[in-house]
Amino acid sequence: MASRKKVLLKVIILGDSGVGKTSLMNQYVNKRFSNQYKATIGADFLTRELVVDDRVVTMQLWDTAGQERFQSLGVAFYRGADCCVLVYDVNSSKSFEALDGWRDEFLVQASPHDPENFPFVVLGNKIDMEESKRMVSQKRAMTWCQAKGNIPYFETSAKEAINVEQAFQTIAKNALAQEAETELYADYPDPIRIDSENSQNYGCNC
């Protein structure tokens, strides 16, 4: 069944507090950036439509709170995700080292049916800062991504809109590739045997 209907992708964005998850989303969806930092409380939703390989895709972006004290929604948020975006700040080793934990957390909570091939994308954000502040080299990040099954990696700046479009395009593409693998199966259910049913009486004795 080659459906031309819009595809909806649920995309979860994870990473430490302050790495720029909300800013990336805002840059991508609203083309806006603010230097002001406001912690996300709970979660935030943004939607954007795009076209991937001639298909109209609606991305439902679930921006989660990086701060641990808001991590109480767990499973509910992760359930049924089509792609998971892991974000860290290239100027913070700690945020990079936390990626393992975020990835594991996602796999445990979301328990996707094929964890080996679940589409992740890693974004190293804030590359607009001075080079001297950089704490995580591109090489180090890419090595990690390769070790985790060749996760696509992008270095981004939400502030200067560097690589944001490209990153999200890849996110959509990879999620869509997974989605396409499970087409609707046409398993016809067993016929109903009416004589084996228990006699039913609903009271509509007309």
Partner: protein, 570 residues
């Protein structure tokens, strides 16, 4: 709006909804007696806290005095509030500054004098003092302004139609949208709203609780959770919660009739990110039609049928022609439909048909024009009969308004049923039965004046034994889809709620009388029937009771024509 922003708006259709989880809410660990959760919210002064939640006394620990339950994304990172379109779960999660246009507010207040005010205090007269007390208590969480604290602020939508239009949503338990009844009335996409709804549901699910209803101002949002699907409806009609839940249950059943519960759970077990909206593609029309029919419905609510009003001898003759040969072992139901009404219905001895299954069948027939022009063999799941599998319906119209439906469990039965149909039609034509039924169609509806009962404006009579109802046509001023009819049907719904104690009232009632400035209403429940009446408000109570007796007598005399009785079984 500056040029870049305009671009952004065009390209990205930006919209945002932000969910705030107030610490007080996440810590609320009350687990007992949460069967009725009524979250009431109102806009507060601070723009950072656009909406705070307030719950009824049952949940004191959920009263959010700090932090909102849901707030709009405005101002979260943009610095340009006006350009970021606020997200709204109807009056619930409203963005924008806490203001609405004065004219809008004027309108918001207009209806309460009809509905809320009407039953407020002075005009309510209930059969017994005890009933009044129960009624009032039952009302506790329902209406807005008078018990809702600060008057809620509602975003002013462009469309006037948005008011009074109930909106229905279906989403997966992953928060993906499945269906939306009125996308054109919404500023926010179903995608955003589904995310917000899923999160709200999850907050309660995290405490092993189920959110059932949110009351905010005049709006009520009712939830029905049937994992892997969630359903919610937004209404400002003022009907009891159970009415909306019945509607949502029907939406669920309609989906099951297309995708069986087995298929549904398999699909979601295999992949929790399953996008059901694509599987339902092409059947949305059934859902739209069902919802449209539910708006002024009383068949769904009372789980009844309203058959064609006709000569019982003719009905018997039709049924006699439809008795199937014994060789059809898997035949379930045989129906003759005229203009959407049942003429007769034959069933096997050991299976009765559940009214909801019948409603789904009738809804399918009514929503598709193409079924009228060709014969059709279609798999359909009748969830009350068996939610796990399909039965097959052979549908063929004999004329524009007369249709035959044979439901069989045998998927190979098409040819034999088709052959049988030919002989059935031959018999029916020979005795001119079809023609006579066709001629009965215009006689089906009747005016309330038929009963010659002054002051009686409308009624609904349910035969409890036959599980069928009868009601006259909506006369002026109720004949159009408008405020007057809405008011009456909502009052019927409230009467129904009260006499059946559906909102946790301590006991059902036998008799209930209410009066507003527009109408008086009487509900009367006896062993054989339930009667709901709309009367002139000037009519005395004794005259109202006399009118009820008139109706009961009239129905008793007309019963053979109004109801389908003694249909053959096979």
């Amino acid at each position: 709006m500056s040029a870049p922003e305009a671009d952004a708006a065009r390209d990205n259709a930006p919209s945002a909804a932000q969910l705030a989880l107030p610490p007080t809410l996440s810590r609320a660990t009350s687990t007992s007696a949460l069967s009725v959760v009524s979250v009431e919210s109102s806009l507060q002064s601070s723009p950072r806290r656009l909406l705070s939640s307030r719950t009824l006394a049952a949940l004191p620990q959920l009263v959010a005095h700090d932090g909102g339950l849901v707030k709009a994304a405005e101002g979260s990172a943009t610095g340009t509030p006006s350009s970021s379109r606020p997200s709204s779960l109807f009056g619930l999660a409203v963005g924008g500054s806490p203001r609405s246009t004065p004219s809008r507010k004027g309108k918001e207040r207009a209806l309460p004098t009809d509905l809320e005010g009407g039953e407020g205090a002075a005009n309510v007269e209930v059969g017994a003092a005890e009933a009044l007390r129960r009624m009032k208590r039952g009302k506790g969480g329902i209406s807005g302004p008078k018990d809702g604290g600060p008057e809620a602020d509602i975003v002013a939508y462009d469309h006037d139609r948005i008011r009074n239009t109930r909106q229905y949503f279906v989403l997966t338990d992953a928060g993906k949208p499945v269906f939306q009844s009125h996308p054109e009335l919404n500023e926010n996409s179903a995608t955003d709203l589904s995310g917000v709804a899923q999160t709200l549901i999850s907050i309660f699910a995290g405490e092993n609780d189920k959110i059932r209803c949110i009351n905010r101002g005049r709006h009520r949002i009712a939830f029905v959770l049937r994992s892997p699907l969630y359903f919610f409806c937004v209404s400002d009609w003022g009907e009891p919660e159970h009415i909306l839940r019945i509607h949502l249950d029907y939406v669920h059943l309609q989906i099951l009739s297309v995708v069986t519960s087995t298929q549904l759970s398999k699909a979601f077990q295999r992949r929790s990110n399953f996008d059901l909206s694509r599987l339902l593609e092409g059947t949305e029309n059934f859902l739209h039609h069902l919802i449209e029919g539910a708006q002024y419905d009383f068949n769904f609510i009372t789980s009844t049928l309203q058959p064609l009003r006709m000569n019982p001898v003719l009905r018997e003759a039709a049924a006699a022609s439809l008795i199937p040969p014994a060789k059809f072992r898997d035949l379930l139901y045989v129906l003759l439909i005229a203009d959407g009404h049942i003429v007769t219905l034959l069933r096997p001895k050991k299976h009765s048909i559940h009214p909801s299954d019948l409603h789904l069948l009738l809804n399918m027939l009514a929503s598709s024009q193409s079924l009228r022009s060709t014969e059709t063999w279609i798999p359909i799941c009748l969830p009350k009969f068996n939610p796990a599998g399909f039965v097959h319906a052979y549908i063929s119209y004999v004329s524009a308004s007369l249709g035959l439906v044979f439901v069989s469990a045998d998927r190979e039965a098409f040819e034999e049923l088709r052959a049988w149909r030919a002989s059935v039609v031959q018999t029916l034509e020979k005795e001119k039965t079809l023609l006579k039924i066709e001629q009965s169609i215009p006689q089906h509806s009747y005016d309330v004046s038929t009963l010659a009962c002054p002051g009686l404006l409308h009624f609904i009579y349910k035969s409890r034994q036959l599980v069928q109802i009868t009601m006259p046509e909506w006369a002026e001023p109720y004949h159009t889809d408008g405020q007057d009819r809405r008011r009456v049907i909502t009052m019927y719904h409230r009467l129904h709620d009260a006499v059946h104690a559906r909102s946790g009232q301590s006991a059902p009632l036998k008799l209930m009388y209410m009066r507003t400035e527009h109408e008086a209403y009487l509900a009367w429940v006896t062993r054989p029937f339930e009667l709901y009446m709309t009367l002139s408000p000037t009519l005395s109570k004794s005259a109202a009771v006399a009118a009820a007796n008139t109706i009961a007598k009239w129905v008793a005399a007309e019963e053979g024509r109004i109801f389908l009785k003694d249909a053959p079984v096979f």
